[in-house]
Subunit: 438 residues, 2 copies
């Protein structure tokens, strides 16, 4: 084995390696800012991504740099943190080493925060036709397909082909599917409506398919109903209670009915990163590691798994939800545990997830908010959603950029990022490095 | 042959087809806004690109959407204009038809405004190692290589490889090469300087190579000297009088000397689009069509070639330069000729290019400006450059976005677009559709 990559303090301090620069990994790194440890954060991208607004990049509302900030910039004042842009290929837990192809880094503590991708329930071949939306590359692929569909319809001479081009199908009615459906409806019926000569963009048909009995199943039924009414006002067709049984180049099939569509987005199901496979430890059906009370991995007290990588039974017996606040809380907690270990202090009490509320937006002046003690829908809920998302955006600059973009879009009904960047002809532009866990 | 694509007026009006949505093509379309003609503008992208600022996208100063505006949005109020996003594959001049694969569009007048790419002087194999910078995909490829070089150097364990990674070579010292050299120097020595732990980004070596005897050869010698001094103050090495004789994966060779570098950008030489080949008409060495006084193509009075597509001897016997104002003037002129023909009015006087001035920027507070009657360098020239570029940006929104981005960068020395988007591992992401003219 070659020499491990050396970091700042030349191994005088305990070495903490964090895999992943998402909400969980960054919180862990920041939580160790004043600890006597050497932090190395590894990510295959050079940026932290504000995933909750990814659907706006996909629907031409925001540019990629509005919701992505360089990890180096975020951590540049934290002297004990080194950032490496690399692809992790495995973990050698016996040697306490993170593998990155030919290179490796040694650790005393390891935090796995590698996140998740969408799961196709054993039908990975559907991904070509129905990409998920977890990365910037995903979002740009979807933007290319959605905007490209209107462009192709403007050229097409055949009525049936034109109809297929203007059909948009969203599979899965969690917050992502709902937000995408609303945003595509507004794009077609407001932003693009004067820009074409041979088609009418508002002829677009947007279908949201959900296998369960209502949309936004994690919200109270009353808010699910309010969100469905809001979507239907925008012209979205909501189809409940039937799972998709096939995706192909022509469209989707649900319960025997075929819907012809060129643009399909997959927003159903989650598969964790292959960390459980790397470590050969127990995982749930989605591949999430079943961690102990202090978020450490069974048999490896020096390894922590947080965010979408882990299943923690810390929320009234249920696993914490796969959302940013849960990942942040786990990152802070893992950092606290490491600090107490390094300092020889008693450990903190077991991790408990504190749910602060659920938000989902449908479109202009339309959102639902559930704080537990109060439940809202409509314009006030939408304003809460806007302020919450601007407030939590990392980076002073991104907050201003997004606030101005939204103000401009609100006033003009136009969209600031209608540039088709990807030119991939409909396949994912990003390599899929992770084999799905069994 | 299938039915041609029909446009707005169902062929009641004369049909004007414009190929290319750059400065020339857009000016031609706008010049026909009130003429009784049916305008169809075809571009393979959905956006107009403000090419003069492309180097800022390549060096992480601006996001793609800051300098790209949807062509549909620009023309959406022009009721006689249809926009098609398609790749033109040829021209059937006998049938007056523009070919786009299976589809075609008929014309009564045709304006060719397809622009240019960089020329490798018979060494197209160098493009892999030394991409040019003409499209957004080019700029994102270069951004990925430049930012990726610092990332790879931070990981590299080998001193010689680290040095090679931190060597940046620009070939050609026209405005593009000079602007890129200055921007990479500022990126390395100001924006990135606190963000790395194992390398010092200001160790980067930036080499600007020019085969001629001075940089910015289209400017007066005094300004060339001022620009060279400004570059050298930023730490750029300027190498004059020697052509590059080889580009490969290891770097470049100039006059027997090898400079090891992973990041090379080609900013030398121009090759026009294949329009001359499509029409089988005379062209100069760069492939530009030698047009008549009214910018029409010999033998085809209904076809006009403008901008970088044509060589017009209209500027004191020299061809008009390959810059945005020349393309705009030609677009307006071609529209005027078409209007007179449609209206049966006498033709306008032969086209004459009016040079308004030359501007190039080196970096913060450093630029050169040549108005003919006055020549400036330094801070005031730089402010002129800033205001001119903001003023000429198309789209109210882009102006504000770019102005705010620049203000932010000026105050903080940071860059707003440090996101590595392309993931292509170093090859061009964009297909090269045009065979080079002979």
């Amino acid at each position: 084995m070659s020499e491990p990559i050396r970091t700042v303090s030349e191994a005088a301090w305990p070495r903490v390696v964090i895999i992943g620069g998402g909400f969980g990994g960054l919180s862990a790194a920041r939580g160790l800012a004043r600890a006597p440890v050497d932090v190395t954060l590894i990510d295959r991208h050079n940026y932290h991504l504000f995933q909750p607004l990814l659907y706006q990049v996909a629907t031409a509302g925001l540019a990629p740099n509005a919701i992505a900030a360089p990890i180096r910039g975020i951590l540049h004042r934290q002297a004990n943190a080194t950032v490496l842009m690399e692809m992790v290929t495995g973990i050698d837990a016996a040697r306490r080493s993170v593998l990155m192809g030919e290179e490796h880094v040694s650790y005393d503590f390891l935090v796995i925060a590698t996140g998740a991708r969408h799961a196709y329930f054993g039908h990975d071949e559907w991904e070509r036709f129905a990409p998920g939306i977890k990365t910037l590359a995903d979002a740009l692929t979807i933007r290319q397909r959605v905007l490209g569909a209107f462009e192709a319809a403007e050229i097409s001479q055949e009525p049936s082909e034109r109809r297929r081009l203007l059909n948009f199908v969203l599979v899965g009615a969690g917050p992502t599917g709902v937000e995408l459906a609303g945003a595509i409806a507004e794009l077609a019926k407001a932003s693009l409506v004067h820009d074409f000569r041979r088609i009418n963009p508002s002829d677009a048909r947007i279908v949201l398919i959900e296998a369960g009995s209502r949309i936004l199943p994690s919200f109270p039924p009353r808010l699910s109903a309010a969100a469905q009414r809001a979507l239907e006002q925008l012209g979205v067709e909501v189809r409940l209670g039937k799972p998709v049984t096939l995706c192909d180049a022509e469209g989707v099939v649900m319960a025997g009915e075929r819907i012809a569509a060129r643009s399909i987005v997959w927003a159903a199901g989650v598969a964790a990163s292959p960390a459980a496979t790397w470590l050969n430890v127990a995982a749930d059906r989605a591949g999430r590691i079943e961690v102990l009370d202090e978020l450490s991995v069974p048999r490896y007290p020096e390894i922590f798994a947080i965010g979408d990588t882990c299943a923690s039974g810390s929320w009234d017996g249920k696993a914490a939800p796969g959302i940013a606040p849960a990942a942040k809380q786990m990152g802070h907690y893992a950092a606290a545990v490491i600090r107490t270990r390094v300092e020889g202090a008693p450990p903190p009490p077991p991790f408990r997830y504190r749910h602060q509320g659920s938000l989902a937006t449908i479109g202009r002046n339309k959102a639902v908010v559930d704080f537990g003690w109060t439940r809202l829908s409509g314009r006030f809920a939408w304003l809460l959603w806007v302020f919450a998302h601007i407030y939590f955006l990392i980076g002073f600059r991104s907050r201003i950029v997004v606030a101005l973009d939204w103000l401009w879009a609100y006033i003009t009904f136009r969209r600031g990022a209608r540039i088709i960047l990807a030119e991939t002809g409909g396949t994912m532009t990003e390599p899929r490095p992770v084999p799905q866990p069994p």
